[in-house]
């Protein structure tokens, strides 16, 4: 296994965004090429954005396409999915693929989906209120 030259990275800093960016900008990682979608918004048509839709489908934010595959259109469904993603994970809810959102999407994560966050919002609120 090979990695980028260590001399360009600060290995002692565990949170430096440059380290994160250097790691994620590699197209060899599963979501590394999502960086090119930064700052896109509804109405865009970009080759490969269907992969981002597949990501959002996998983690519970976008229903499966029926029939066929996802399109490369930044449509209303994608905007809605991004908005839910942002709300669920504590990002500013813009519905756009701003830098902060793309950065989090590209970050490594647990394989379990997040759909329960959306579905159980009322329950979560109730439990917190009860305990207080």
């Amino acid at each position: 296994r090979t990695f980028p030259q260590p001399s360009i990275l600060n290995f002692n800093d565990t949170t430096t965004s440059s380290v994160v960016a250097a790691a994620f900008n590699s197209s060899s990682t599963p979501w590394g090429n999502f960086a090119k979608f930064a700052n896109l918004e509804k109405g865009s048509h970009v080759t490969g954005i269907c992969d981002l839709k597949t990501y959002l489908n996998r983690f519970g934010y976008l229903p499966a396409p029926a029939p066929g595959n996802f399109s490369d259109d930044f449509d209303s469904d994608l905007e809605s999915a991004i908005l839910t993603y942002q709300k669920n994970l504590g990002l500013p809810p813009t519905g756009k693929l701003d830098t902060e959102t793309i950065d989090l999407i590209m970050a490594p994560r647990c394989g379990l989906g997040d759909s329960h966050l959306r579905h159980n919002t009322t329950t979560i609120t109730h439990l917190h209120e009860t305990r207080r």
């Binding site: 296994r1 990695f3 980028p4 260590p6 990275l9 290995f11 565990t14 949170t15 380290v19 994160v20 250097a22 790691a23 994620f24 060899s28 990682t29 599963p30 979501w31 590394g32 983690f59 669920n88 994970l89 504590g90 989090l104 970050a107 490594p108 994560r109 647990c110 394989g111 379990l112 997040d114 329960h116 966050l117 579905h119 159980n120 329950t123 979560i124 439990l127 917190h128 305990r131």
Partner: protein, 192 residues
């Protein structure tokens, strides 16, 4: 915090003791078994400190409640891993007990020793996945252990108020648990 649908939890008799074991066939060889066991022991302890559940390592992998292994690609559970970065690990809700880590990651127990810029802290991921094994789903609180993302070369192993409240609502509180052990800043955030 959030739960899986149906709010499943382990239902062993009280006081509850769950056994865990490591796969004899699916491990990594660049971190010693002793170090991996120490990492998981600490991760299990963090959860057992807040709920009345004990964890004991068992030798028999097949019969253990929690079964831990490092797997790659399609490993037969319908949730194939995707190589370096991307998905790091997954675990199943109670009372399934499977906890799988992607063997393609560069796992680290000491960032001073593992210099890769894509190194992933094993203890952070282990603590998160044990939360799933116990019944917690993902949290929206970015500081919580149960938040779904973890950056390379970052470490997050301490339970936060969100994690503690979630797991204690499922299992009750460990009688020896002391809220003072949580980070002061975390308690202030929660209170506000």
């Amino acid at each position: 915090y959030a739960y899986f649908n149906g709010r499943p939890r382990w239902t062993h008799n009280s006081p509850m003791t769950l056994t865990y074991a490591f796969s004899p066939d699916h491990m990594i060889d660049y971190i010693s078994p002793e170090e991996i066991k120490a990492v998981f022991s600490r991760a299990f302890t963090r959860w057992s400190e807040v709920i009345p559940v004990n964890f004991t390592e068992a030798q028999n992998y097949r019969t253990a409640d929690v079964r831990i292994g490092f797997h790659s690609g399609d490993h037969g559970d319908g949730e194939p891993f995707d190589g370096e970065l991307g998905v790091l690990a997954h675990a199943f809700s109670p009372e399934n007990g499977r906890l799988h880590l992607d063997s393609a990651e560069t796992w680290a127990v000491d960032f001073g020793r593992e210099r890769s810029n894509v190194a992933i802290d094993l203890e952070s991921v282990a603590t998160h996945e044990i939360g799933h094994v116990l019944g917690l789903a993902h949290s929206s609180v970015s500081d919580a252990i149960m938040y779904p993302s973890l950056r390379p070369r970052s470490r997050k192993v301490d339970l936060r108020v969100d994690d503690v409240e979630g797991i204690q609502a499922l299992y009750g509180s460990n009688p020896n648990f002391n809220y003072g052990s949580l980070l002061e800043s975390d308690r202030e955030t929660s209170n506000s």
